[in-house]
């Protein structure tokens, strides 16, 4: 009965199997969702990702400065090139064990550029039952690490223009929070003024991995502009191999597990200790992709120290945790291995009103919507809020979406099978 050829491969090759397609990988998401009736709910995915290298040639045509555009076009013989960008290919995917990044990369070869991206996004959204999904870059999350700081604003503007004109314009279900070139406060304000009213732009985002402190006076006009427009400010975390403290790690698991929550903790701490919640009380914050376990930790640390050192945070009128309970958080990657602890975390962060589901597709630690739905300690209303209603409120999304399923390019989209 044994197969000699297979037996030989099993003894020698590190991996045996074939790569699943994008649609094959998503099939179980749809099956699990439909079994729970999730495709009948209003669902918003507040964070999924793009892969910029495949459309880099398109994006950089939008770089306004011709010298920088030329440098980016020729720096890698026409391929993806940003000085200082972190390369994670293969590491994130556990050398092929986890298949979603590769499946995304290879999906819809019959299409090109932004059209290919939109097709991939629709595959994902239809499988997950998402009514809206918020697109973030992946490689450009390192925007704050580019050693040539004059590249930051042109690249941020190029991304904003490309994603608005080529992606958001094609499908009203796709939304985004645009990356701010935070190294240049004037450029940040200009970006908000230029793109703040663009259809599909629901907020702006600071990439958390950076070294520009949020409390600097130069940023106050940015926060005021966002607050006046009713647009939320996101902090999207990431990781960095090259920080002094991460240079002693030898595994991706270590860099990743600590990196994401750490950079969001840095940003949340600076925001609170410097009294920014009191100065901009109507500016909503969304902390993205750090999981949730860090939040109770930081609440306890800051509260304990604030009670002893209030004089160092004189603008605060309440304990730090009380401000943190008013922040919004994305749910992914949900640390559901310790359910009791997770339940306590949900209580501490007012998850029923402040937590928003995120898939993070196609990254390796993505979460399907049924991961939220299956949590045994949630009420049905809490599930609905976390999967969509909290994001609807945060992003001020239209309530009549299903009655007005019209694309931004003016064409009617086929009614979704619900």
């Amino acid at each position: 009965m044994g197969d000699a050829a297979l037996d030989g491969r099993l003894q020698s090759e590190p991996m045996v199997g074939r790569e699943l397609t994008h649609v094959e990988l998503l099939r179980n998401v749809e099956r699990e969702g439909r079994a729970r009736g999730l495709h009948e709910l209003f669902i918003v995915d507040v964070d999924f990702h793009h892969a910029e290298p495949q459309v880099w040639d398109e994006i950089i045509t939008h770089v306004p400065n011709e010298v920088i555009r030329h440098a980016l076009q020729t720096g890698n013989h026409g391929g993806w090139y940003v000085p200082g960008a972190i390369e994670t290919g293969g590491v994130q995917e556990l050398q092929g064990r986890i298949q979603s990044p590769s499946a995304w990369h290879h999906a819809h070869p019959e299409l090109a550029g932004a059209d290919r991206d939109v097709a991939r996004i629709r595959d994902m959204m239809d499988a997950m039952g998402s009514d809206y999904a918020s697109l973030f870059p992946s490689f450009l999350l390192n925007l704050g690490l580019f050693p040539f700081r004059e590249f930051e604003a042109p690249i941020a503007f190029a991304w904003a223009e490309w994603v608005s004109e080529r992606v958001l314009a094609q499908d009203s279900r796709i939304i985004t929070m645009l990356s701010l070139p935070f190294g240049d406060p004037d450029a940040c304000l200009k970006l908000v003024e230029h793109f703040g009213d663009t259809p599909g732009v629901v907020g702006f985002m600071i990439t958390s991995v950076r070294y520009d402190p949020t409390y600097k006076k130069e940023y106050m006009k940015l926060y005021r502009a966002l607050e006046e427009r009713g647009l939320p400010l996101g902090f999207h975390s990431s990781f960095n191999y090259m920080d002094r403290h991460t240079q002693q790690f030898n595994k991706f698991i270590s860099v990743h597990a600590l990196g994401f929550p750490t950079y969001n903790m840095v940003q949340a701490t600076n925001w609170i200790v410097n009294g920014l919640p009191e100065r901009f009380p109507d500016l909503n914050l969304l902390f993205i992709e750090g999981g949730l376990a860090w939040i109770p930790f930081l609440m306890q640390r800051l509260d304990a120290e604030f009670m002893m050192r209030r004089s160092e945070a004189p603008l605060l009128k309440r304990r730090p945790s009380e401000y943190m309970k008013e922040f919004y958080y994305s749910s992914q990657p949900l640390e559901s291995v310790h359910l009791k602890q997770l339940e306590h975390t949900f209580e501490m962060i007012n998850a029923e009103t402040q937590l928003c589901w995120a898939s993070d597709w196609p990254h390796w630690d993505w979460d399907p919507p049924h991961h939220i739905w299956d949590l045994p300690f949630l009420t049905d209303q809490a599930r609905r809020n976390i999967l969509g209603e909290n994001a609807r409120r945060l992003f001020n999304l239209p309530a009549d979406f299903r009655d007005a399923d019209v694309q931004r390019d003016g064409s009617e989209r086929e009614a979704r099978s619900r």
Partner: protein, 136 residues
């Protein structure tokens, strides 16, 4: 408990990776032929439902301590099945996850008669039939 044995395919219909995925009464079952032995598990990862049976068969990474205190990693001869969604690993002989044996695949009885492979599902027949999907 009454068992119904459903034919999922012939032994020569297994893919070159030594597996066959079939749908039986609304559930996908992955059958593996490894080292001459047949095992069958539900094609649904106990983590959050990924198509684990279609994942890569990977030689498990092990580590040993060198005399000088260094750690040397190598591939063992044991294969683990890796869920393509999030990387959860499973020992195909036991269906358990090496990282936490409490996490385990749902197993099915499987048997070979002549050249036909049958998977046992609980309950009376009620006309249960299998539809083999393209080899994965």
């Amino acid at each position: 408990m009454t068992m119904t044995y459903v034919k999922v395919g012939r032994i020569d219909s297994f893919s070159e990776e030594g597996r066959l995925v079939a749908e039986i009464a609304g559930r996908e079952v992955a059958v593996f032929l490894l080292d001459g032995e047949l095992v069958a598990y539900e094609n649904r990862c106990p983590h959050i439902g990924g198509p684990v049976g279609s994942g890569q068969l990977v030689r498990r990474v092990i580590a040993r301590e060198e005399p000088d205190g260094a750690i040397a990693e190598e591939f063992s001869t044991q294969r683990v099945l890796v869920c393509p969604w999030h990387g959860y690993e499973f020992d195909l002989t036991t269906g358990t996850c090496p990282g936490d044996p409490r996490v385990r695949l749902t197993s099915y009885e499987v048997k070979l008669e002549s050249e036909d492979v049958y998977v046992g599902v609980p309950g009376p027949s009620r006309g249960a039939r299998a539809a083999a999907s393209p080899p994965t």
